[in-house]
Symmetry: D3
Subunit: 252 residues, 6 copies
Amino acid sequence: MARTDGRSDEALRAIRITRGFQEWPAGSVLVEFGKTKVLCAASVQDGVPRWRAGSGKGWVTAEYAMLPSATHTRGDRESIKGRVGGRTHEISRLIGRSLRACIDLSALGENTINIDCDVIQADGGTRTAAITGAYVALADAITWLGAAGKLADPKPLSCSIAAVSVGVVDGRVRLDLPYEEDSRAEVDMNVVATDAGTLVEVQGTGEGATFARSTLDRMLDVALAGCAQLSRLQAEVLAEPYPGELPSGAKA
Amino acid sequence: MARTDGRSDEALRAIRITRGFQEWPAGSVLVEFGKTKVLCAASVQDGVPRWRAGSGKGWVTAEYAMLPSATHTRGDRESIKGRVGGRTHEISRLIGRSLRACIDLSALGENTINIDCDVIQADGGTRTAAITGAYVALADAITWLGAAGKLADPKPLSCSIAAVSVGVVDGRVRLDLPYEEDSRAEVDMNVVATDAGTLVEVQGTGEGATFARSTLDRMLDVALAGCAQLSRLQAEVLAEPYPGELPSGAKA
Amino acid sequence: MARTDGRSDEALRAIRITRGFQEWPAGSVLVEFGKTKVLCAASVQDGVPRWRAGSGKGWVTAEYAMLPSATHTRGDRESIKGRVGGRTHEISRLIGRSLRACIDLSALGENTINIDCDVIQADGGTRTAAITGAYVALADAITWLGAAGKLADPKPLSCSIAAVSVGVVDGRVRLDLPYEEDSRAEVDMNVVATDAGTLVEVQGTGEGATFARSTLDRMLDVALAGCAQLSRLQAEVLAEPYPGELPSGAKA
Amino acid sequence: MARTDGRSDEALRAIRITRGFQEWPAGSVLVEFGKTKVLCAASVQDGVPRWRAGSGKGWVTAEYAMLPSATHTRGDRESIKGRVGGRTHEISRLIGRSLRACIDLSALGENTINIDCDVIQADGGTRTAAITGAYVALADAITWLGAAGKLADPKPLSCSIAAVSVGVVDGRVRLDLPYEEDSRAEVDMNVVATDAGTLVEVQGTGEGATFARSTLDRMLDVALAGCAQLSRLQAEVLAEPYPGELPSGAKA
Amino acid sequence: MARTDGRSDEALRAIRITRGFQEWPAGSVLVEFGKTKVLCAASVQDGVPRWRAGSGKGWVTAEYAMLPSATHTRGDRESIKGRVGGRTHEISRLIGRSLRACIDLSALGENTINIDCDVIQADGGTRTAAITGAYVALADAITWLGAAGKLADPKPLSCSIAAVSVGVVDGRVRLDLPYEEDSRAEVDMNVVATDAGTLVEVQGTGEGATFARSTLDRMLDVALAGCAQLSRLQAEVLAEPYPGELPSGAKA
Amino acid sequence: MARTDGRSDEALRAIRITRGFQEWPAGSVLVEFGKTKVLCAASVQDGVPRWRAGSGKGWVTAEYAMLPSATHTRGDRESIKGRVGGRTHEISRLIGRSLRACIDLSALGENTINIDCDVIQADGGTRTAAITGAYVALADAITWLGAAGKLADPKPLSCSIAAVSVGVVDGRVRLDLPYEEDSRAEVDMNVVATDAGTLVEVQGTGEGATFARSTLDRMLDVALAGCAQLSRLQAEVLAEPYPGELPSGAKA
């Protein structure tokens, strides 16, 4: 009844967050949840989408995608199919919405931060790893914008955002499912939370099954504890200086 | 602090479920949650999608769409834009997943039930109305398939499925939000549940805000009570005979 | 040799025109020609297409579509296919062109009226029903624009527009063909005419067959008589007051 | 009140039909109506569209397109826009339908004839020129199929097909409108007819205007006389031998 | 070991360049390399692409396409497929790039010259024929712009551009390959050169094979000699007056 | 006149080739040419494209793409634009063609190797880095296929393939251009060669400029020396054992 990788039911996989993975974006983070690896890049762009122009406020948006080579079986490339699939759309929207919960968009002025989350290797939990890494990339982009003198308010981030998956596998509530568990889970839930322990997004699903309210409560307990751990890890890596050159030329 | 339409915080809008709205589909239901009107049609098709062929099992899938004229301000037509938007994709997937929780797909044989949910008039809660109506259309399609002698198991539906929205508006937890409340809700949640009171899907979101665990718990209480009411309504309307001609030629 | 539904060769099906079918568009009409049901909504939008900007004149355009569940066998959804089919394009263009024959576009100022004709149930003659209903929706939208003080000329409609199909079935010229007759007609013609008895559009087709000039003449006689009847029905329903709230707040 | 090019109201422009314009298609015809030039190519392909497979019958279909350089002002390329426009769709369907009126599709066996009508230079009446030229290309493709021993019936063409435009310009009914007249015509009609004088398709339109039944009758008289002349020209050019090498290696 | 058409290894096919092939474009040239026929039209358009606006410079761009009927076996129409294929993209870019090597874009002002190269008949070497014809169409468009008083510098063309293919077939280096040789060539190269003998573009490919440096050198020798011949032909045809009416109304 | 990074004109940047970068593909290589980083993954798939089915031969194809975050200024995502751009198409075709020059496709049986080249960071020369890395990924995939017993011939690779860019910058011929040099090069050439020193592909371009034959010769000399160095590096890294688990379970 033990997990394939020997973890306890409530333990996260090995988490690694590497800042400064790419040279050009204002924030670039490689996040690893076990074998799941997602590259999260936050790029700053002048201006905002048309529907928001003239508001004086900025915008944060995200695009999630998977490299064809990231999965056990090679996936088709969405650019070649000419259509972005429903799952991709859904996750992109989730990431953008989650990050917008922690930021005061009026502090950005009419600038946009695009967060690209490209999955390099997929082994379950790619969307929650993406959110967790994207927050760190966003924080670096905010540091970059501050150094560039483009922030109306020097501290536009009101909290940090982390996310984790939880599910019922073999009748047990387990944290941070790898693909092997995810693919046979009876219930699957993604929880996005702040470092203050409040919730940003909860999505619980029982494909081909239903679940009791008490199971939901138990999954939330386990997921919130996981998010708290991830928040601490984020704070630790962000305690290090900005990993590149800042617009002013001085290291932060 | 009262609601615009005078309802109590925990009350549903006026709900109407009309079976047999169209002539040709095996199930066709017009569902109304107040001014929100969704036409849910369940059509039976021989065969299953390619990835499922040869499994001996059937499939249930859904497509959600909005008439351009359904909204306060006319929306663009997705066929003309040439792309289905992320929101449409997301809701279509949610409806399909929710309905598959109540059905034994092996009883269908290699047949597909397509459930089209077309919003005729939108006033908040279109996805939850769609799920609630779609279940009734599905039940009628199952009756039709039974009469046609195409079911391996005469009772493939293990439970009924209903859905409702709940949110925090003006600091109060409220059930079944119309557009006017939905558009200024701090937190918004959709709950899909069975007539047995178990959960199928929970999606809670705080765009630009976060919410406490205790708020989530309270929203679930209110939503589950709302779903229970909807389940009773579904049972009532389904107690009436099948609203058209069955394959055998006799009324059910 | 009698028609399936017992009608005489020159009789219309039962026609019903229901105004105010939806809440939000300026004009919203459900038109029924027997079992054929089309929802025609006229929405007013500020501005005109780019190629017309600066002309000081308005525009009227139409989009026709069929719900997947409207037909005997479920049709594919054009938004999912990512392309609008040739038939859809052709009918949308016909409806827009027909309505522009009755209106003085300079009276509208630089406003656009979009007419959405969505087929709820198809049983032959959907394009002619759509034109007939769309005229009524357009008339209501004009009333709405007048009440909103947006018309340069208070009577921009110079005539009314109605349409009907006629064909040769079983060697006989018959009016207003249902699907069962339409699908085996040797010749099929759609005629759009004004209440003054002049012609707007004539489209006669013999797929896999040809027809004599004398047959064309006879079909025109029958169709024009049908259009005259439809024009009288339109006038009757439009004699009733505007079915919603007008911009000024007073019923028209 | 005379026409720009000095013709009488009921005269055709100079018509030229050149067979064997290209090497590879079974039929290839350059048709010229004055300055309007359309290349009509009929290519034979094994097999039929999926919906027709197993019927034992063949299929004839057409695709109409305009070179970007064909018009007074360069047009956008539809392949680059990624969508075929409504006008293109409409004309392609008209050409295919018109040609299918003259052929016994069961004589073809399960073969398809694709007729490509590419406008090299546009000066009004491209669709009617296309139909007139396409018939000649089709006739050559039939000769080719006969030589190849692929016809069940050696004479599958029951008549010839020609088409011409007619309109009301400056208050006068005129035949075969060039662009300069077409663009200011009050009424515009396209007539497709056989060499026996029967009708295949009639499409009369009054954009922004309406017309009397008597005008329609007069336009039909003029158009039918024009079609008769075109039919004679087609017969003359087809009296010459097949303009290339036939499958058997012998000139026809 | 002789070539099918009796030419020597280093000889071009019969080359024909016909100016003024169409009425409306500023330059319109039919170029023939043996049976390969390409229609090259240069159209002048006010303004430049958005990324170039405000630069004060003009732009030259090209679009290459093939008529479905141009090839031995009919090809699918890219507008219908809804996507421009990789080969089409590649050749369009090559033609545009090649022509931009000979022109001073600042002399054009903010005007664009679109060069459409539509293959009427394909028998190998369509891209090199297209470049060779496109240069002549461009030169005519420049004459037209000069007559219209739109050129800042009366001689913006610094050289002429021609192109030819060369390959290794049956172990021999051969010039200007027809389809029959091209399809079995071991190495295939396209060379674009100026009348001064300098190079603009060199693309050598060995699909499924490799080639020695000495072979490349030999192919370049042969190709440059071919280009020199084509440059002389271009100069000869351009020595004739402009083949239409110039904006000033006088023949050039 | 020295290069920004201090290299001599004929020196490569620092080259790094890391095998086994991802877990699931049969070959996965991260290749670095200075700051340019490309992830090359070779995935094995049963079956071949339809046009090749039944030939008994395999297929090798490539897809090149750039992460939006890879460039100095964030690029748009092609999946969202719904179209693959011309440059992407062109490079994908080049990579596939280059690799097919070194492999005996009949040894693969009817299997396909898809090579995905995703640019993680772009600093000039991404296509040549991609080819160089793709060859190593292909070699690993071949080892994997051999271990799986799927090769008809145990040594289907007849040579190795490497590629490098060369250009004229500041009037000097320079090897392996970074973005800063590439963007202002007068001439730009990509050379693909084998370890035997033969050529696979040569593409030289002078956008807005032309170049002498002698310059081309000099560029070829420099590029071939660069390719020879890259071939030696490839051989070195491939001398190490296969970096993962082989189908047989034993390390190669």
